[in-house]
């Protein structure tokens, strides 16, 4: 735990990619395999299920330390994070429970750490701060899943008494299911590949999908050329980079495949060993979410993997993303929902055929095989993403101008001789998206952001005019520079009209230009409209609230 805490701190305190990789490599060398497996679990963005709510942790800490609740809230407003507030408070305030044991104090007034009855959890009594990460999680935390509140509290407060401030912070993040480490999973894979002496692509493939951390898993990961045993595993997705300039810079049009950028769920359909699995780009297994794709999957020959897009599709044409989104949001897939938003798989690429990895073949070869496979399967719900054949970049730009009518986000440009790489590698695949929707809205509410901006009021809600009143339409938190966020935070604190818990209602003074990707009617939003991926384009200091847009103008975009 101490070693993992040190790794967390090293990763948390630097912005240098090299320093992060070096810290992870050193950790992977030093840590026991079982601990390293758990570390990798978190480094690759996976999380434990929430065992305890942050608020409950706060209540326990308030009671343990005898802190007035209002003072705790005051403090958490400064810290911006409950789990951290609890850790800092426990570190700084002598505890009531501790006083009961009347333990001798240290010279500086702090209390000696207490030993826990850890042996009951099968953990050697060597001082809890040195608890192995795997032992802590598997021996103490996971068994709490079915425990009652009293048992949870006893376990957590017992650990609090034994851990230092950094370890307590991590423990709080673990039990609330909020532990995030500031690295991308490609960076974690890079570090692991240095540790293992294997290619990153091999490791990222081995790490795809769901897996249970354990010493055996970590040792398997490091084994040179070990055979892949999990047939469900997809390949790491190859991601396109945004094209910021005109496509002329890409050279000869004839060397590129152009296809529509469909607006659905990017996914891989894996067909092996008589079974099929559907994986989303977020490495989530979504097979069960799409029973209407099971027939087509079964119709595919064994040993093949398709890359494509899951879309809501009816009468031979894709439906807007909002239709698919309604379906994703449902707990239960009723026949009615399946009928309203029937799914289809739009195939982009063929990554495996007859059990052979095709990723190093040129794209035109993979596409030829894909075309054959799709036509042989002859499934209504499986289509090939058709090339957009406009012969010049200019003609292609003209086609792209009609993207919205086609319910697509723009064009994808892929080099015909490109291999299927791992992650976001610039050069061979580009996404040439259409310009976002844009609207000028007034800042109405603010609340603390998360992560790096947890102490700043950077989670913002914006409104548009409707019959003389500003109606909230979108929340956005990205797009401002750090300086702008700082300045806005100061302004908000001085111009708060009203507070509802963490949310501040501010004077309607500032106008911001918002960009977003999609727009749809919604019964769940006060404005009756839901916008997709809203973000702040710029702070319109040149505009006053009366110059902001109206809800009617936004509504008109739905029909546009």
């Amino acid at each position: 735990m101490r070693r993992f805490a040190a790794l967390y701190e090293a990763l948390d305190s630097t912005t240098s990619t090299n320093a992060k990789v070096a810290a992870m490599v050193a950790y992977f060398h030093a840590a026991a395999p079982a601990d390293a497996a758990w570390a990798l679990y978190f480094l690759s963005g996976r999380r434990l299920k929430r065992l305890i709510t942050p608020r409950l942790l706060a209540v326990w800490a308030i009671e343990e330390t005898g802190t007035p609740p209002w003072l705790f809230d005051e403090s958490s407003g400064v810290v911006g994070d409950l789990a951290e507030t609890v850790a800092l408070l426990l570190d700084a305030v002598p505890r009531r429970a501790a006083e009961l044991f009347s333990r001798p104090g240290r010279a500086d007034g702090s209390l000696e750490p207490v030993m826990l009855p850890l042996e009951s959890a099968g953990i050697p009594k060597t001082g809890a701060a040195d608890l192995p990460l795997a032992g802590l999680i598997e021996g103490l935390l996971l068994p709490l899943r079915d425990a009652d509140e009293a048992a949870k509290r006893a376990a957590v407060t017992g650990l609090w008494a034994a851990l230092g401030v950094r370890e307590t912070f991590l423990l709080n993040k673990l039990v609330t299911g909020e532990l995030r480490v500031g690295v991308s999973d490609t960076l974690a894979v890079r570090a692991l590949s240095i540790r293992a002496g294997l290619a990153p692509a091999v490791l990222s493939h081995r790490l795809m999908g769901t897996w249970t951390p354990g010493a055996a898993l970590f040792e398997d990961l490091l084994r040179p050329g070990a055979s892949e045993t999990d047939h469900s595993q997809p390949y790491p997705f190859f991601l396109a980079s945004p094209l910021q300039e005109a496509p002329d810079v890409l050279g000869d049009r004839a060397l590129w495949l152009a296809e529509w950028k469909w607006d659905g769920i990017r996914a891989q359909l894996v067909r092996r060993q008589g079974t099929a699995w559907l994986w989303s780009r977020g490495e989530e297994l979504i097979t069960d979410r799409f029973p209407d794709l099971h027939d087509l999957a079964r119709a595919l020959p064994d040993g093949c993997v398709l890359d494509g897009e899951v879309l809501a599709f009816a009468h031979g044409a894709p439906l807007p993303f909002a239709v698919l989104q309604r379906r994703i949001g449902r707990q239960k897939l009723t026949p009615r929902i399946l009928a309203e938003a029937p799914a289809a798989f739009m195939a982009y690429d063929l990554l495996e055929e007859n059990g052979t990895d095709l990723r190093t073949l040129p794209l035109h070869e993979r596409r030829a095989r894909l075309k054959r496979l799709v036509s042989q399967a002859a499934q209504e719900r499986l289509t090939l993403s058709a090339p957009v054949t406009a012969p010049s970049w200019e003609a292609l730009a003209a086609e792209r101008a009609h993207s919205r009518e086609r319910a697509v986000e723009g064009l994808m440009l892929k080099k015909l001789d490109s291999a299927y790489l791992v992650g976001r590698k610039r050069g061979d695949w580009w996404k040439w998206k259409i310009d976002p929707y844009t609207i000028d809205a007034v800042l109405l509410y603010a609340q603390p952001g998360s992560g790096r901006r947890a102490t700043l009021l950077s989670d913002l809600t914006f409104g548009l005019w409707d019959a003389g009143v500003l109606v909230p339409v979108a929340k956005a938190y990205s797009g401002l520079t750090d300086e702008e966020v700082d300045a806005l935070d100061r302004w908000i604190r001085q111009h708060t009209v009203e507070r509802f818990g963490p949310v501040r209602h501010v004077e309607p003074v500032h106008v911001f230009e918002l960009h977003f990707e999609g727009i749809a009617e919604s019964t769940r939003h006060k404005s009756g409209i839901a916008v997709r991926f809203p973000r702040i384009a710029r702070w319109r200091i040149d505009k006053t609230p009366p110059e902001a847009d109206t809800l009617a103008a936004l509504r008109a975009m739905i029909r546009a």
Partner: protein
């Protein structure tokens, strides 16, 4: 029993003695607790400060300023008000102001203070009083300082660990920088570089007999690999930094106790060390003074005064003295 100190537009004023403590605006008689810029402002006619504070105050006010000094514990009668300075432990020459006058009882204004050991100044002296005016820069229960010797050890480890690079440590040029240099001297005698803004404060401290790590000015030096450099935070991101080539940065401040601040400030390392009292330090101090009334100035005034009223049964109130948002020398 009349209040010996009251809030005035000029700051915390003593009507009986006709002086103002750390005035915000020019006054006839200014009593200065310490030489940081947010406490020692130019423009007043007469200044009174503690002996070790005077050279630092002189640097700030210029050669013409009229400054009278008083040693710690020495008493001075001003229009019948008995005034004395007592160590506040904040920095060299920092003082609490003790006032006594007729039936008003004993009043103590803490100025900025801390309870942790600091090799550059005398430790905070506890004074019994009726009314205590405390600062509250870090008076929330989340703030607690580690042993400064341990922080110095961490700085030394960081410096040693950056073998091929310069280690640029940002800190307040007056007070914090000298405290770090004095703490580091207990662990090493290796010289470090200092930014020009630290030169005079270091000279004044040395002249007062404070032992600091040997320091060198940057001058025309070209090679900084493996060297420690202390610089004011204003040097960050300036062209002055270019000379260091490959470097790591760190900041030493109590603010960095909070992770969000550490991350947002974007330093490679943060060392949590402050010259202001932490929450327990403030509470302990108030208890030790035996006071029944507390006035809270600076920082988390409202939170601390409410806590003292509701949890400790004290007559506590926040006083608002117009101040710049960030306390100096934290």
């Amino acid at each position: 029993m009349a209040d010996l100190l009251i809030e005035t537009p000029e700051g915390l004023g003593c009507p009986s003695g006709r002086f103002v403590i750390d005035p915000l605006l020019p006054v006839e008689r200014a009593v200065i607790t310490h030489a940081h810029g947010d406490h020692a402002r130019a423009g007043s006619n007469f200044y009174l400060c503690q002996t070790d504070c005077a050279p630092l105050l002189r640097r700030r006010l210029g050669a013409d300023a009229r400054i009278q000094t008083l040693a710690y514990g020495e008493r001075l009668s001003i229009d019948g008000v008995t005034l004395s300075f007592h160590p506040a432990g904040h920095m060299l020459g920092s003082a609490q102001v003790r006032l006594e006058h007729g039936t008003s009882g004993v009043w103590v204004c803490s100025g900025d203070y801390k309870r942790e050991p600091d090799p550059t100044c005398l430790p905070f002296e506890t004074l019994r009083c009726d009314v205590f005016i405390t600062e509250a820069t870090y008076a929330l229960p989340i703030f607690r300082w580690d042993d400064p010797a341990a922080v110095a050890g961490a700085i030394l480890d960081w410096w040693t660990g950056n073998a091929g690079k310069a280690s640029v440590l940002f800190c307040y040029a007056l007070g914090k920088a000298q405290r770090l240099l004095a703490e580091l001297l207990r662990k090493t005698d290796r010289a470090c570089f200092i930014h020009g803004a630290l030169e005079i404060p270091c000279e004044v401290y040395r002249a007062a007999g404070v032992k600091l790590l040997p320091t060198r000015l940057i001058g025309d030096e070209k090679r900084f690999a493996g060297e420690l450099v202390l610089a004011p935070i204003t040097a960050r991101g300036s062209p002055w930094m270019k000379r260091f080539g490959d470097f790591e940065t760190a900041f030493a401040s109590g603010l960095l106790r909070v992770r969000g601040t550490r991350r947002r400030r974007g330093f490679d390392r943060g060392f949590v060390i402050s010259d202001h009292a932490d929450f327990q330090g403030v509470l302990r101090t108030i208890a030790e003074t035996g006071c029944s009334r507390v006035l809270v100035a600076h920082g988390y005034r409202d939170a601390l005064s409410r806590y003292l009223r509701e949890e400790r049964g004290l007559d506590a109130r926040a006083v608002s003295l117009l101040r710049e948002p960030d306390a100096e020398g934290d």
